[in-house]
Symmetry: C2
Subunit: 255 residues, 2 copies
């Protein structure tokens, strides 16, 4: 069994380049880390190119992948070098990036969450997980939102990115397509024309746009929504985290 | 104006000790960091002992505190030494710890969120902020939950800890007291006897227990609840983050 022992190895160098946007675009691949995420990628038929594993991890979990996928064994030192986490589990997979137009083609049905310039990987991950839990069709990462393939974002989605559809696109195009289908598009900007969440019925087809943590939605997108929803609460609404607000609206709309 | 320039200064040493549990207990004080949190502490009449500031921060925000509170000026180097963040804003406050029995005395009314062995500071912060947004009376940090005074926890609550009541206690005592008042106590453990959230009415007085991220609620507490609620959803419920689940239940109960 071949084992890679040097951080200077050509393959190791190629893998570490996948941590950057430029490297991912050039290779058409990205890297995921951790056994939960790798096993979810296996279970949900993701386009796995190679699995990278330490000997220890091969012994504990190799049965799930060694007869089905190409895999490479690396030392703990090499695993730490590739890792984006402080304490790596010693298991990674290189996946092919699916061109986003393949995702976008069949979009316009069901509930979709549209992320407008969301930056925090934790918030993105929580929103994608919640969309998965609520049975939405998918999530669109709008221009200016952190990349779905960035290591922290990919990790924080905890496999939900393989359960539902994920697209990257200009949100105005999606909003226009939704309107052409006759489906409503909701924003969540507090303004004088905002509509209380409970005045809107549950529905099968909708798009919900969530705006940037600090600045809210872009004005140009806000102008395209059918209604801006506010969440009627007793307390200090300023305190609501964007992922919590998204969850409350998705839960209401999917009922 | 006196200015502290050395990390070896006696006061600096005392402040850095407040980053540990032992240090906080010994001093009966804790440290908060960042202008948003310090200004919230000022606005909500928290027991501020001293404000620690860099010259730059004194120039920009000193008007809000320099005539009302003791303050000490430190160099940027000392500020970085005290800080728990990578990029400090150069403003801190030392606060007195209020004995928890003063908080517990007037607890038994309104909605309360009870945290059972919750560990992640981000989850705790989001839940406290949501409880604030929903108009709950307060949050009880049960035994085994991260400390409200730990730097990461205190920061992630973003000032909501000063808007609502915060207690630290044995949760079984709180549950028993709630029962004595005739108010319901809800858990959120998925089990065969769980009740769908929408079968429970909104109400003014309730306690809601949220369990540990990995292990759920302690069995001994679960046995004390009146009902365990589940959140009826279309998708993959396993994906729901604890802070999202708490928000959905609080929103429903506070309507």
């Amino acid at each position: 069994m071949e084992k890679i022992t040097s951080n200077q190895n050509r393959q190791v160098k190629a893998w570490t380049k996948l941590k950057t946007k430029h490297g991912r675009q050039k290779a058409g691949q990205y890297l995921i880390e951790g056994w939960h995420l790798v096993s979810e990628a296996i279970n949900y038929d993701q386009p796995i190119v190679t699995i990278i594993t330490t000997e220890k991890r091969l012994a504990s979990d190799g049965a799930a992948f060694k007869d089905r996928f190409d895999y490479v064994v690396v030392t703990d030192e090499v695993a730490n070098h590739i890792a984006d986490t402080k304490t790596t589990q010693g298991i990674f997979a290189v996946l092919s990036i699916i061109p986003t137009n393949q995702v976008a083609a069949n979009f316009a049905s069901g509930g979709w969450l549209l992320l407008d310039q969301i930056q925090d990987p934790g918030n993105i991950g929580t929103m994608v997980r919640t969309a998965d839990a609520m049975g939405l069709s998918g999530v669109v990462f709008g221009t200016g939102t952190a990349s779905q393939y960035a290591p922290k974002v990919s990790r924080s989605m905890q496999g939900s990115q393989f359960h539902i559809q994920i697209a990257e696109a200009d949100l105005s195009e999606w909003i226009n397509e939704y309107h052409e289908q006759g489906y409503p598009v909701y924003g969540t900007e507090l303004n004088p024309d905002a509509v209380a969440l409970d005045e809107v019925p549950a529905q099968a087809n909708f798009a919900l746009v969530m705006g940037n943590e600090g600045n809210g939605m872009q004005a140009s997108l806000l102008a395209l929504t059918d209604a801006n929803l506010f969440i009627p609460m007793k307390g200090n609404a300023e305190s609501l985290n964007v992922a919590i607000a998204a969850a409350l609206v998705m839960f209401h709309l999917q009922k």
